[in-house]
Amino acid sequence: MNSLVAIAYVPDTETRIKVAADGKSLDETDVKWIVSPYDEYALEEAIRAKEAAGAGNVTVVTVGPERGKTGLRECLARGADDAVWVDSGDSRYLDALATAKAIAAVARDAKLDFVWFGQKGVGYDESLVGPMVAELLDLPHVGSVVKLEIAPGKVTAHRELEGAHEVVESSLPVVLTAQKGLNDPRYASLKGIMGAKKKPIVEKKLALLGIPEADPAGSKTRWRKLELPAPREKCHMIPADDPAAAAKELVRLLREEAKVL
């Protein structure tokens, strides 16, 4: 089973976010970067598919600045076979469509059964790139997969909806996006970490894939401003010496002040 797993290298969820001097991008000083957590489920499932089949290859790909190579190394240590880094050059912000075009260009060159994504990257949180790649490659896709069964030439995927699961059967190759619950990702072993150093990372330039670098005149989405949320008002603490009285006071405030009951 051959898989391409696309990863997003994003600020650690514990990182404090600061706005850069331009007022519209992230101040990257002191930011710790991680492989987006959902991508770990995607990678794990791709490795399991290969192991179950007893043959195949798992390639990881990321699009962005050079730091993404650190993320690729982590994936190689966990069990991916090789990696592709698409250098986004000077583009500080690459929108979902441009990212999807780069990944689709990499996928087109390979013979694949699966193209995997996390159901969202925890940076821009858009959940766009996976289905866009499917459209660009004219492949079926199933999003937000929590369970996968592989049979010859097809898969049955359980996908999470609001209060329900959809059970979807798809032909191969297929684009899948991984949701939490799909599996428990493995950690990299010491042997894996040592071995990862010898595995190849192929470098590609955005322009060579035929994708124009993000151009302010281009017809794509842009960030105009990045803002931190206004601090919420100070919490109104209700004394709890008498639980019944505290509960009554809370309900009164919710009714009369907040007007939500």
Partner: protein, 322 residues
């Protein structure tokens, strides 16, 4: 400015999130807009969308759209867009909307203002505001020079006003080719509980590690039922196996924006705050006065949830009985 709004229905009922998107489009357009309604047996639902802002509804009522497929549903949206030539397309950011929007956008060689919590017009261009970096910042975004602008709207954020005096929408049938999707829904399995999902709820009561064990959910359920709310949970209790992942609110669970969020025994780890920080009113009940949840809460009670929560349930029932 011409808008087209994608309308989603489930089990013969129009989704509230779609009505929110439709009402938003009407507000922005300053008058009735176009809508597209795919599904099986959906034609009778179309005319009444006039009350929510539709002037015309393109209906794709077909047997092969009875179960969702992105091929079929994106096909219906594309056909309606062909007929209407909209400047902007709005889609509710539900599970289905998140499936439809990016495929449709890629087909039209544009991107999407995804999951916006605010949307306005500036010189005929959409400007959206959306949470980024786990909800820790907000980005103001636009579509550059794209001739087709697409946005998905976060459910439960925009009001779904109705105008009871508005005329019925004009209904136009779409002619579509037969669809044989390569990814085919075999069946939809409702959660055993059949209960309201957190992502659709106006009021949510959530439990965290403070409940001490899976056997104590009745404590939280009692308040949940008193409020007519949905049940939520923190990552800690999901990871501990005390409840299924479908209840999880937070970064690796569901992102919610209810009117009222009641956090019981939840400390408020950043990954939880990322999922519920945009709630309109937040109540926190926790024994630790230093818990970060109190930094985002509007109302807080420091105390033992086993004493406080039943009293709150009692007070809610008393207030509702008045």
């Amino acid at each position: 400015m011409k808008f087209l709004v994608f309308i989603e229905q489930r089990d013969g009922k129009i989704r509230k999130a779609s009505l929110e998107a439709l009402a938003l489009a009407r507000r922005l357009a300053g008058g009735p807009v176009a809508a597209v309604l795919p599904g099986k047996g959906v034609a009778p639902l179309a005319a009444a969308l006039g009350k929510s802002g539709a002037g015309v509804v393109y209906v794709a009522d077909r047997d092969d759209l009875g179960l969702y497929s992105n091929k079929g549903y994106v096909g219906a949206l594309s056909a309606a867009a062909e007929r209407e030539s909209p400047d902007a397309v709005l889609i509710a950011a539900t599970a289905m909307g998140k499936d439809v929007a990016p495929r449709f956008a890629a087909r039209r060689d544009v991107s999407v203002l995804a999951d916006v919590m605010d949307l306005k017009l500036e010189d005929g261009r959409l400007v959206g505001s959306r949470p980024v970096y786990s909800g820790k910042a907000r980005a103001e975004v636009d579509c550059g020079a794209a001739t087709l602008q697409i946005a998905t709207t976060r459910p439960n954020v925009f009001p779904a006003e109705r105008d009871e005096s508005a005329a019925d929408a004009r209904v136009e049938a779409l002619n579509l080719p037969d669809v044989t999707p390569r990814a085919r829904v075999l069946r939809v399995e409702a959660s055993e509980s059949k209960e309201l999902d957190v992502s659709e709820a106006d009021v949510i009561v959530s439990g965290g590690r403070g409940i001490k064990g899976a056997e104590n959910w009745p404590l939280i359920r009692d308040l949940q039922q008193a409020l007519g709310a949905a049940l939520g949970a923190s990552r800690a209790v999901v990871d501990a196996g005390w409840i299924d992942h479908q209840y999880q609110v937070g970064q690796t669970g569901k992102v919610v924006s209810p009117t009222l969020y009641v956090a019981c025994g939840i400390s408020g780890a950043i990954q939880h705050l990322a999922g519920m920080g945009t709630s309109k009113v937040i109540v926190a009940i926790n024994k630790d006065p230093e818990a970060p949840i109190f930094k985002v809460a509007n109302y807080g009670i420091v105390g033992d949830i086993f004493q406080i929560v039943p009293e709150v349930a009692k007070a809610v029932r008393a207030a509702k009985a008045e």
